[in-house]
């Protein structure tokens, strides 16, 4: 191959020992240093959370990277294994169970194929329980070396599986928790600018309800207090000062949350500390991006 090999990233719920078996296969073909771990600690079997993270993380890598994702409770069953070439040259490999759909939509699909295991170099009959190693890793190695996507199988359309979308309804914002991070921040699917900094909102989920301020960053939260922050994913998160908001507020991935504006503005005695940058603005929770 004249072209330089591509980077291959791995995003899985497999833990490190199974992921290492994918690296073993990849390193039979790609040069040292070309396999990058995104994570192997995804919550097991939880496709929407993994799809959200992949959609947010993968596009940060150079275009042309091969992203392999494996969260695959249906492994060995009827769902296809697919490889996708995106409009910017990024490549995706994984099960066609919704995991790749959001990132593929974000980057634009140029072509998608159903991987035919018999066409893989050194193709052997894959195990029924670990296509990550036996199908996706060899397919990714093929693509990393610059070989054609179309040689992996015949064209297919990805099965649509959009992430839950936030909505504005009846004067409030409705979304859901899509990820809980290592710190216990509960990340929602609501775009950060739907609730401007300085707003005081009533947050409701299940039968619970709480008034929280929308602040700029973690150090704006009171000691021992919580609030709403624009996360690094571009969406709102519920956070607690050096503690787990998910545990404090009993929030889980999949929980519906609603944000309702109040007449109050954050200030002295409220949940945020010190001045905020948007203290003079009108609260306009319904403005468009």
């Amino acid at each position: 191959m004249a072209r330089r090999p591509r980077l291959v990233t791995l995003t899985t719920d497999l833990g490190s020992a199974y992921a290492a078996q994918m690296k073993a296969v990849l390193y039979r073909s790609v040069p040292p240093g070309h396999v990058v771990d995104i994570t192997h600690d995804l919550v097991a079997h939880r496709i929407p959370e993994a799809a959200f993270l992949l959609e947010r993380i993968a596009p940060g890598f150079p275009s042309g990277t091969v992203h392999v994702a494996v969260v695959d409770p249906g492994v060995g069953g009827a769902r296809a294994g697919v490889a996708v070439r995106c409009s910017d040259g990024t490549l995706l490999v994984g099960p066609d169970n919704g995991l790749l759909w959001p990132v593929a939509q974000r980057l634009g699909v140029d072509a998608a194929v159903r991987i035919d295991p018999t066409r893989l170099v050194h193709g052997q009959s894959p195990s029924a329980t670990f296509e990550g190693r036996d199908v996706f890793a060899p397919a990714a190695a093929h693509l990393a070396l610059g070989r054609k996507l179309e040689r992996l199988g015949s064209r297919v359309r990805l099965t649509p599986m959009p992430l839950a979308a936030a909505a504005r309804r009846r004067g409030q914002v409705e979304g859901e928790v899509v990820h809980v991070d290592r710190f216990g921040n509960a990340i929602t699917n609501v775009p950060s600018d739907w609730v401007p900094e300085g707003a005081v909102v009533q947050v409701s989920w299940g039968r619970r309800r709480r008034t929280l301020s929308r602040v700029r960053t973690y150090s704006d939260l009171e000691a021992g207090g919580g609030g709403l922050i624009g996360s690094s994913f571009g969406t709102l998160e519920l956070s607690w000062r050096e503690d787990s908001a998910a545990r404090r507020l009993l929030l889980q991935v999949g929980d519906a949350v609603a944000f309702h504006p109040t007449a109050r503005r954050s200030g002295r005695g409220s949940h945020i500390r010190g001045p905020t940058r948007s203290a003079g603005k009108t609260v306009n929770i319904a403005r468009r991006r």
Copy 2:
């Protein structure tokens, strides 16, 4: 050196921060990208489980790879540190406490030496508590750069420490749980084809007993149900549909398990869902591979 440097993999129970100290030593000699994490999350001090995983995972890497393994409760004590050249050119480095024995047997031993710390380049008196960093990493760097195994020390025979073997006895299959993975699958040492797909077997362990079907893959398990599956390691595993079999069945590494054939065949109303590929075959639990 004219030869290209070799990949070095790390398989430890050390956690990431101690493993990073091994990487630091390696990267003083080997080029960027040549150190690959297999895992640093092995159950602490549990040599047989680590030996099983190493024996299954390491041979998947290109021959010529240097595999460093550290599960070493006897560090600083009398057990030797060893380096092994296998018949296919694969190299192994670690304590001579049984950890390397199964993979060395599988690949065949060409030569083994007891590592003499005074012969290591930049050799210094190793700490009594971290030979992974002070002995094994420098020895692996030596080998990764293509230098001779024999320069590391004098010839030695590895201490034999075979893994527990499964057996067929009194009309049943007897084995043990050798690994519990991140999903809670309880992987045994019983070759997968000793219990054919479609069989219904009585599984007994400790004072417990349960009838389970041998199915092909996870999606063949009933919602909320468990069964026996041929794992990606080539041995049988006890699995639960999107849940932990180890927790459900109270199984741990080291537990003896027996599989006893029953007259029943899996079908409607049983523990497996839908047709299985082997539905027409005779149950012959005792056939040889």
Copy 3:
């Protein structure tokens, strides 16, 4: 650039998914294989423990390495982001919150600058919640490619934040637990040679008190027993034979511990097993290194 790119290491409390976003930014500039994970599992927000580990681990890498560290509860707030060139050519990037101070002191500071985000290549307005991705990773990429530190911002002095120091007072040694490792070893800040092998010491912490022997290595501990060992960090650790000393002794990071010499010597019937190398030496707990 004529120079070879430098290795970049990452030491964070972020977990793998956020760390992957830093890798994404880095790999837009640095070649494959040049990003090395030290750890992403640091205890969240605990700056002194992270600073201790960084000070012990980073200097093991080749001089010239770029070490990025992120434990940053004040992200988005007033604390500066800094880049430091050490006397041996090692580079450090992270928040000026004390995290970098100990390693910078150990290696010697040649120059330090406050990172000006507007000077970063492809500089964009950083998020308020993830400067690791938006400021530190681009700054590290700049340095990894051999570009000048001084271009990142103007000179600054690091905020001093020394680690707690052990002391000898009133005939005893006083220190504190600075790290608990994956095995539950409680690592202190007391230099290992302040308590010689073979000594029997009374250890006190909180209202607890226990007599333990100072032994050489883990295998010198009695089955089911604990002791004091010289850790691979060069400081004393409280360890338990194949168990967690932190759990057994209810020790946490930050706990003050004192070691008081006793007239006893370890021997038969005591907490250590077999002869120790220093059995003939006089106990001199107050000798200087």
